[in-house]
């Protein structure tokens, strides 16, 4: 679709290599238990495993049967003997108190048990499978639990995993020349990686990735809580994309069964609409449908020879396209229906008002009614968190009343959820006196800043006393609302939120890359709680290779997850600047996943 594309964007490195590495290691480990054996796989690992190996590969290496590890007795085909390998995540590593090693993601337990001799033998090995390429430019650590573990519980069990992931990328696609980052966890991950680099040996090679940007999810919690309106994000919000794969319900497929579809750049139709604002998708799809019709219609006037060429050359492609097209049309239609039902329009309006800091009372009564009517619990919680994040906390009276109503509508046990949200800072009460401190610090700063205009601006903003607001102004995150925003020709990253908001995370990345560091962003980092850094890799002075393509390939690592909308925004930014972004994330997230991980209402 119509974008101002810079032609000279560099090629992305080939990440299928990562899959091959993981597969080769798996095979090597399987062969440590010679002979025929069964493979027991932990449920969460099945989808990722499917992405790197298939049954044929496993069979070739003497794997007999595959089982899912469940919380029940294991039944082998043989009465007398179990020979098998268990693929087990290290998440609950404390079961192996002596195999403490976060570095390795999965454990292989080789088990040999023979009942007739009562002989039992178990050995362990670690399979370092922690990077799964989901697409040409997305690599996932498939660690959805990262967010809760680190940001809520304060458990650093995944920090070294993140460091090792960087280490692996660095040794395969590096050496990186510069690393920027913000956030406590980013800093630790960087440290861990640096140590691993020092431990290992270095090889001189041609770098394929130039710079790296690390960012903690809690630097920007607003963005993942916004409703996604870019196609891929919307599909994820509604149907939930899992491991790059989505299951479309019968409603979409207009048949009686649901089908699983891989969503990535291989899907030509999807590839063209994934980054588009939803409102632009229909136009595109109907144009496509028309073209398809024309292509098929060509047949009518053909002679036998032409028909033959048509069938052999074009038909397959057309059929494929037809299938894809009808699928995405079905999905769009189904999403439209769902969104119409729940007054999406009004919901978006409320969100945009919150982002703009406009008519907050109206927003609160909208949220209140949302709660009162017992509409989706997670959605109510999302709005409450957005309110708190954008307003720097709720007024005590609002907090109390909204919390009480929430508990009435969705169950009192959510007291526990509220305590989690508070702990993480997603939903908090304004502390009395906070106003004063904010005022003091701001005024104190402004004394040096003699511009009168800025002073009044600051004073009017004092009423709002929010870091988000201040950040928004500082970084121009919320474009002026008196201009039309043409979604057909997006002019900035705000298009991913209908022109209402530029995601803070992506804006930071843009700014830091532009400035080649954090200089000039001191006030911003102060409001974000600091922990920013920019390091140039020691020996490999960057000046020599500034011109090479690799310098225009930037790896962005999100610790705690990132959304498809953010990926779309970065792709947009990349097109504008003639660079390519590779997103490495602990998991793909969205508002629902993020908030569900905060729930504590189950035993």
């Amino acid at each position: 679709m119509a974008h101002s594309v810079r032609r000279d964007a560099p090629e992305l490195p080939d990440f299928s290599l990562l899959k091959r590495l993981a597969r080769d290691q798996l095979i090597y480990l399987l062969e440590q238990l010679p002979g025929r054996k069964d493979l027991f796989i932990e449920a969460d690992l099945m989808s990722p495993l499917d992405r790197i190996a298939n049954v044929t590969t496993l069979k070739q290496h003497d794997v007999d049967k595959l089982y899912k590890v469940e919380h029940k007795p294991i039944v082998s085909t043989s009465d007398q003997m179990v020979r098998g390998c268990f693929l087990y995540p290290l998440t609950n590593w404390f079961l192996f108190p002596d195999v403490v090693n976060a570095d390795k993601y999965y454990v292989i337990l080789s088990v040999y048990f023979d009942i007739s001799y009562s002989y039992f033998d178990v050995t362990t090995d670690e399979w370092s499978f922690y990077l799964l390429p989901l697409d040409d430019d997305i690599i996932s650590l498939e660690l959805p639990e990262f967010f809760r573990d680190y940001f809520l519980e304060g458990d650093q069990r995944w920090v070294r995993t993140a460091g090792s992931a960087l280490h692996l990328l660095h040794s395969v696609y590096g050496p990186f020349s510069k690393v920027y980052g913000i956030g406590r966890c980013s800093k630790m991950a960087y440290e861990s990686w640096r140590e691993q680099v020092e431990e290992g040996e270095q090889r001189a090679r041609q770098a394929e990735i130039g710079n790296v940007f690390l960012i903690d999810r809690d630097v920007d919690l607003v963005t993942p809580l916004c409703s996604q309106v870019v196609y891929e994000g919307l599909v994820d919000d509604i149907f939930r994309i899992k491991c790059g794969c989505v299951e479309f319900c019968p409603d979409v497929t207009s048949s009686d069964k649901s089908i699983k579809v891989m969503l990535n750049s291989q899907d030509k139709v999807f590839n063209e609409i994934r980054n588009e604002h939803f409102s632009q998708v229909f136009g595109f799809l109907s144009q496509k449908a028309r073209n398809l019709q024309t292509a098929y219609d060509k047949r009518s006037g053909m002679n036998i020879k032409q028909m033959k060429t048509f069938v052999s050359e074009e038909l397959k492609g057309l059929k494929q396209e037809h299938r894809l097209l009808s699928l995405h049309i079905g999905a769009s239609e189904s999403m439209m229906k769902k969104k119409t039902k729940q007054d999406f329009q009004e919901l978006l309006k409320t969100e945009h008002s919150l982002l703009e800091g406009f008519e907050i009372r109206e927003c609160i009564s909208y949220i209140e009614e949302h709660i009162n009517r017992q509409v989706s619990m997670v959605e109510s919680m999302r709005l409450l968190c957005l309110l708190s994040l954008t307003e720097n906390g709720l007024l005590p009276k609002d907090y109390r009343s909204l919390k009480a109503q929430f508990l009435q509508s969705y169950g009192i046990e959510h007291l526990l959820t509220f305590s989690n949200l508070k702990q993480l800072g997603l939903l908090v009460e304004q502390q009395p006196g906070e106003t004063l401190t904010v005022m003091e610090s701001r005024v104190g700063k402004l004394v040096n800043d003699k511009t009168a205009g800025k002073l009044t601006d600051a004073f009017s903003s004092l009423a709002k006393k929010s870091n988000f607001r201040a950040l928004g102004r500082r970084l121009n995150l919320v474009p002026k609302s008196d201009e039309e925003y043409d979604l057909r020709v997006p002019r900035d990253m705000a298009y991913i939120f209908s022109g209402a908001y530029i995601p803070l995370s992506c804006k930071l990345i843009e700014q830091v890359l532009e400035r080649d560091g954090w200089t000039g962003l001191e006030e911003v980092t102060r409001m974000l709680n600091g922990h920013e850094f920019a390091v140039t890799a020691g020996s490999n002075g960057s000046d020599a290779r500034v011109k090479t393509d690799s310098q225009r390939i930037i790896l962005v690592m999100f610790l705690g997850g990132c959304t498809f909308s953010e990926i779309s925004a970065l792709r947009f930014l990349g097109r504008e600047k003639g660079i390519k972004f590779i997103v490495v994330t602990t998991a793909i997230t969205n508002s629902a996943r993020l908030l569900e991980s905060m729930l504590d209402n189950h035993a």
Partner: protein
């Protein structure tokens, strides 16, 4: 083409956001439908040529044949039939005392559950309990080669490094408190959560809890790891003690309250909640917990009563609308809805009456109205709905009032399939004229539209509207009548 609500239009027009709506009637949607039709019409063409399609297998089918998930499902179904018998033949490893009991889905012992008859395993499981061997992980052996460089006097730094690298290590040599703390601090410095927790497990085993707690107070990061670890292995008691020793009483109270989720039996759960009332919650939370207890107590009474009434077939309402689920453990608002549905009109004195629930749980007017409206509308009790809004003033005139906008009321009624006659009464009450007309158009309340245009003296709009209604219908005739009324002074 008419679009949704006028207030939204205002918004979209006044701001930069390009109007983009999800309304059915919108252009885009129609366009989409058209493309769908177009594509579907091609389908027949495609399918007739669709004899053998290899595209399907590669990139399409739900679980591509040959995928791992598919294969696992295959094995599952094939063993289901024989599974029961085989259970017997597989021995069990006794849960070793040192392996923490936990509620998580992963545990080694859980993998090997089954009925063991052989006593010979005793010796194996006993070895779990022996701490001196356990640290070299005999049950989960590492390849022997890794033991080669084993020496026993590593510094804390070296030990942590070895732990991170997955090499063999020993913590036993850290005997004095000072050594142990040095080790812990070194682990924290290494930013590796797993190492931190591993060290904490060792400290937990080898230090008295008083000392460990005391040392953790000044070590925030280690403390959080410890708390998380205790949570995961379900050592509730110790956790409570920890919070207590640190004066984190609210955390302690919530932690204990959390346990009610594990109590399945409703009477026991009620008693548990009652017990919670004495915990040191924050004042607000204390109220909520009190509510929780009161709520469950009432639900138990209501449930017992209604179950009996329902099965005896005494009350029509239960016959007509059999209960789909028990009311136990439902939120307050759901309970109120239930009460408005099954117990409407009961006197305030009964626990199950809406008025009583409203009062007990301090439900706001707005909330009460919304819930009540939903329940009565569901039952199509339009008279009750009417009564909800009717107020009498001192002169005896009646007037409809609502704490929420009438456009909302219309919306709720419409979602409950209220007939046009009912709907239009409420559409009429919408104050904003624009909004009124757009709602009336959405729900086809012709009278409202016609009367409004008449009152606005808007002849043009009325003529336009005449074109939209069916010729000869009563609406049509009504418009004709008004248009031909020479008494009216039109503004256009």
């Amino acid at each position: 083409m008419m679009r949704g609500k006028p207030d939204e239009d205002d918004y979209w027009n006044s701001s930069k956001f390009k109007a983009f709506t999800f309304d059915d009637e919108d252009d885009d949607f129609t366009r989409l439908k058209e493309s769908k039709r177009a594509v579907n019409s091609i389908r027949s063409l495609v399918e007739e040529e669709d004899e053998e399609d290899d595209v399907e297998k590669v990139s399409w089918s739900g679980e591509p044949v040959g995928s791992i998930s598919w294969s696992v499902k295959e094995t599952e179904s094939s063993i289901r039939s024989t599974g029961e018998v085989r259970d017997q033949s597989f021995p069990k490893i006794h849960t070793a005392p040192s392996l923490p009991k936990n509620s998580s889905g992963y545990s080694l012992s859980s993998l090997f559950k089954g009925k063991a008859k052989t006593g010979s395993f005793q010796s194996f499981s006993e070895s779990f309990g022996d701490p001196s061997i356990r640290n070299y992980a005999p049950e989960l052996r590492k390849p022997k080669s890794e033991y080669k460089d084993y020496v026993s006097d590593w510094t804390p730094e070296e030990t942590v490094k070895r732990m991170q690298q997955g090499k063999v290590y020993s913590l036993e040599k850290f005997r004095s408190l000072q050594d142990k703390l040095l080790l812990l601090d070194e682990a924290v410095n290494a930013h590796d959560g797993n190492v931190i927790t591993a060290v904490l497990i060792y400290l937990k085993k080898s230090l008295s809890k008083e000392i460990l707690f005391r040392e953790l107070i000044t070590r925030e990061i280690a403390l959080r790891h410890y708390i998380h670890y205790l949570k995961e292995i379900g050592e509730q008691k110790l956790l409570v003690e920890l919070f207590k020793s640190m004066d984190r009483t609210e955390d302690m109270a919530l932690m204990q309250y959390r346990d009610h989720l594990n109590v399945r039996d409703e009477n026991k759960r009620r008693d548990f909640l009652k017990n919670c009332l004495s915990f040191p919650f924050s004042p607000d939370d204390a109220t909520h917990v009190q509510d929780h207890y009161t709520l469950l107590e009432r639900q138990i009474i209501i449930e017992a009563n209604d179950k009996q009434v329902e099965s005896s077939g005494q009350a029509d309402i239960f016959k007509k609308y059999p209960r789909k689920a028990s009311i136990l453990n439902m939120p307050i608002i759901t309970t109120l809805y239930y009460s408005c549905f099954y117990h409407y009109g009961e006197s305030d004195g009964t626990f199950s009456s809406p008025a009583n629930i409203r009062k007990t749980f301090r439900i706001s007017d707005k909330q009460f109205l919304l819930t009540c409206l939903g329940a009565r509308a569901k039952l199509k009790a339009w008279f009750d709905v009417d009564a909800l809004f009717t107020t009498k003033n001192w002169l005896g005139y009646t007037k409809k009032r609502s704490p929420i906008g009438f456009h909302r009321i219309v919306d709720i009624l419409q979602k409950n399939n209220a007939p046009v006659q009912v709907l239009q009464d409420y559409v009429n009450l919408v104050e904003d004229v624009e909004q009124k007309i757009s709602l009336a158009q959405k729900y086809k309340c012709h009278d409202v539209i016609i009367n409004t245009y008449r009152d606005l003296k808007d002849r043009q709009q009325l003529i336009v509207y005449r074109g939209k209604v069916e010729k000869g219908s009563s609406e049509y005739r009504k418009i004709e009548e008004i248009l031909s009324n020479s008494q009216l002074r039109w503004k256009n």
